[in-house]
Amino acid sequence: MTKIGLEIHCQLTKLESKLFCSCKANYREHEINSNICPVCMGLPGTLPRINQKAIEKATLIAMALNCSTPDKIAFFRKNYFYPDLPKNFQITQLNIYGDTSVGGSGMIMVGDKQIRITRIQLEEDPGRLIYEGSSSKNQTTLVDYNRAGVALVEIVTEPDFENPKQVREFLNILSDLLENLNVADPSLEGAMRADANVSIEGGNKVEIKNIGSFHDLEKAVHFEITRQESLHSRDIPIAQETRHWDDKRKITISSRSKEEELDYRYFLEGDIPWITIGKEIHQRLKLEMPESISSKKERYVSSYNIPEQVAMVLSSDKFYSDLFDKSHTKNNAKEVANIITTDLMGLVDTREKRERSKLLPSHLNDLADLIQSGKLTRTSAKNALYEIVKSGKELSQIISEMDLGNVSDKNQLLTIIKQVISEEPQAVEQAKSNPQTVNFLVGKIMQKTKGKADPKLTLVLLKKELG
């Protein structure tokens, strides 16, 4: 049997500042080594200053993953030398001297499969290493400390996954959950990183480190299972080791470093006193906890009669569900859901497009109302939506500029219908004997009106004319 366990590192990108100082949590837009201060550079004499919000956001994640949450948490030092660590130790959490990390054991359902969470801990991100020079001889390592000290939540699972597909499903659910909690933006580059451990047939556990994205995680796990199975089938023993994910070649490589032998000499971080997360805080967080994805979905189905599948798609993406919740009325909810899931998703399917989009909730509300009252066809609505996303103009302005409004004037329509009837005698005869074929005539009318004829009204008038 294949056993896969994960260690997910997730930056709390929605925080204002780093974990222990007031430098920006969003380090991405800064010049190299400009988002730094004496504290996150670990200068002599500086002390960590705990970011209370980070503790709350990490606790929120723990609660959402059904983890136990202790009343008191503590921080520890993990001691090792590495050029990306300004202090040559990392402030992190640990459960070996009792449950003192933000989250204890928990679980989450992935389909019918229960995945157990071992623990959740809060820690500081190291700096970023940049390698320059082509050969190992003239290679220079540069360090950018802009990222150093950013709050990182580590989510450790039990080895409960049996295949890469479950891993992928879990990661999808987890990304949606983190986004929904408003703690992280998983689509930001480097915001989510992972280590995995894989064993097959009760064999030795192999750790895979350095996986830079969720996309690669599934690939890395897949590669590692295949590698181990191939060894196993040839009766070659699988070594217990740490392997690195080679991002470019998409393979795992045995790491010769003695990483697994490192002794981190963990001990309590005396500069941060034990932090009490009392009942009041837990209760407040529970109240502040955003509606879960599954309860959102249920609400969409039961309150608005939105189809299961549509409700699922809508609820699992915070961007769309927020938009939906802000734009619909009781009467047009189903239509708004429909516009979002059939038309909008194709228009804003990347982070950049979402950021550039000029669409407001009021636009969606207006669109749905006009469709429902027959003033706008779905085709015209789709064209209008495209323009709204681009320009953000008022819907009424777009309708008049693009001439999208429905032809619903009775006399105007009647003139066109009569014109079509005279032009298509054969089709008229056919329609008279077989009402099923009336659509051909409707099509012709639509052609003449460039798709703007009010479909209901057209049918009524046409049938009347045909007798």
Binding site: P38, M41, L43, T46, N79, N88, R265, G270
Partner: protein
């Protein structure tokens, strides 16, 4: 110009117009230049000190608001950061480290118009109790320059004792303020853990150390404590003292107070002169109306072992950042791989620092933590319990600050174990987070003896009252320099 005045006397004289800050600071600098060649208290002298004093005088003249220190010259141990000045920890590793920020205590003193006359010597990274481990050479005891001044805040004690400043800031990890205070005959204070912000104090063993004032009188210490303490958002371990005024009611006396004499600190190995000074102090206290009684704190016998295990562990971690990559001394990185570079550059650490870091790599390591580090933590918590227990019965405890008299430079430097035992009477307050004070008590054959009083957690104010009461019974000769 009489430099031999206390901080409070200085303030009075400047306020009354008897002296100006400029005159006093300038005379102080002159004295440093004249005598510090013999003492080596200072690593650096502030070239702007006189100019800064002149500005204070100007404010006084113009009737502007002046800070409570009125331009008082203070020396600062070289492990406390002053913005834009070198902070070396008396180490070659930090030879070129210029702090880009002020320690919280420095900001507070600046606000009160104190003037920093210079940075003073110490054992490298505060590891030591003689100041012989300074990478820039030892400081000398002004009472007899053949003798050590104590440490690690040796430069602070020397500068106060030899009238090279009015007061000083030291740091106390296991006695580093009280020990040199005792050896040089000044007041040395180790506050309740968390009372004074450590932001800007370069860590040695951060879970137990505190910055502490060193002054000529107990009142001066209370005055400085009023300025220095309080919650600091930059140091999460600071405690709220409710804006206590340590100076008011300082003359309340100790009538009716119960004082425990710590038996483990006056037993085996104690110098007979120190013992008789202690007995004398006890009778003086009884004369002031205190009730003295013997108390036993069993864990004291393990306290030094526990202390060295904990401090080595924390030091190993705290000093790991000195890899010379972001700051330090001139040593190009080109041509080195990371690990070979740091082992090369870290050879600049002095022998005592290396000794403690090797220990710090060993005692908390995976195979040995249970036998050493975790056991040391157990001793710490048991000791704290015993101390708290003792304070249920006694208001204060008493013991000599150091069980021996000052010794000669070079006498014990090659005997680390003998040196460790000099700490036995001071580490307890650090391990238990409780306040203690050393006051000048006697002179024996020209060498000072300090007396230590201890109080319970957060009882700093009454501790200062008790120390003040004992101080009033003491008459000592003037330092012969």
């Amino acid at each position: 110009m009489n430099l031999k005045i206390s901080a409070l006397e200085y303030i009075d004289q400047v306020k009354n117009g008897q002296i100006s800050a400029e005159e006093f600071v300038s005379a102080t600098i002159d004295r440093i230049k004249k005598i510090d060649g013999k003492l080596h208290a200072f690593l650096q002298i502030n070239p702007d000190a006189v100019e800064q004093a002149r500005k204070v005088d100007k404010k006084i003249k113009l009737g502007e608001k002046v800070g409570a220190c009125f331009g008082m010259p203070i020396s600062i141990k070289d492990n406390i950061c002053i913005k834009n000045s070198k902070t070396t920890c008396a180490s070659k590793m930090l030879e070129n480290f210029i702090a880009p920020y002020d320690a919280t205590v420095i900001s507070k003193l600046k606000q009160q118009d104190a003037i920093f006359v210079g940075k003073v010597n110490m054992d490298e990274f505060a590891m030591g109790l003689t100041t012989e481990f300074s990478a820039y050479g030892p400081s000398k005891n002004p009472w007899n320059t053949d003798y050590v001044p104590g440490g690690s805040s040796g430069g602070s004690a020397v500068s106060v004792s030899a009238f090279e400043c009015v007061a000083s800031l030291g740091s106390d990890t296991g006695g580093s303020v009280r020990n040199p205070a005792s050896f040089c005959s000044t007041v040395g204070y180790k506050p309740t853990y968390g009372l004074i912000s450590r932001y800007g104090l370069i860590s040695y063993a951060n879970s137990i150390e505190q910055i502490g004032p060193m002054t000529r009188t107990v009142k001066d210490t209370a005055f400085l404590l009023n300025i220095l303490c309080g919650l600091d958002t930059n140091d999460n371990t600071t405690i709220d003292n409710g804006n206590q005024d340590y100076l008011s009611e300082i003359d309340s006396g100790i009538e009716g107070k119960k004082i425990g004499i710590i038996q483990e600190m006056i037993g085996e190995g104690i110098d007979s002169q120190v013992l008789s000074a202690t007995k004398d102090a006890i009778s003086k206290l009884e004369g002031l109306g205190a009730i003295c009684d013997n108390v036993s704190i069993d864990m004291v016998k393990y306290s030094v072992a526990s202390y060295y295990t904990i401090t080595a562990t924390e030091a190993g971690s705290n000093l790991a950042r000195y890899d010379n990559i972001r700051y330090g001394y001139e040593f190009p990185v080109e041509g080195y791989e990371f690990n070979s570079y740091i082992s090369k550059v870290r050879s600049k650490f002095g022998p005592e620092v290396i000794r403690r870091m090797i220990l710090g790599g060993f005692v908390p390591s995976a195979g040995h933590a249970g036998k050493y580090f975790l056991k040391a933590l157990k001793v710490k918590s048991k000791l704290t319990k015993e101390v708290n227990q003792a304070f249920k019965k006694y208001d204060f405890l008493i013991a000599p600050t150091v069980p021996v008299l000052p010794f000669k430079i070079g006498e014990k430097i090659n005997d680390p174990v003998a040196l460790f035992l000099v700490d036995i009477n001071t580490v307890m307050s650090n391990l238990s987070g409780t306040p203690s004070i050393s006051i000048p008590y006697a002179i024996s054959n020209g060498l000072p003896i300090g007396m230590q009083l201890l109080a319970k957690h957060r009882d700093d104010k009454s501790l200062l009252q008790a120390a003040r009461a004992l101080e009033t019974t003491v008459q000592l000769p003037e330092v012969p320099i």
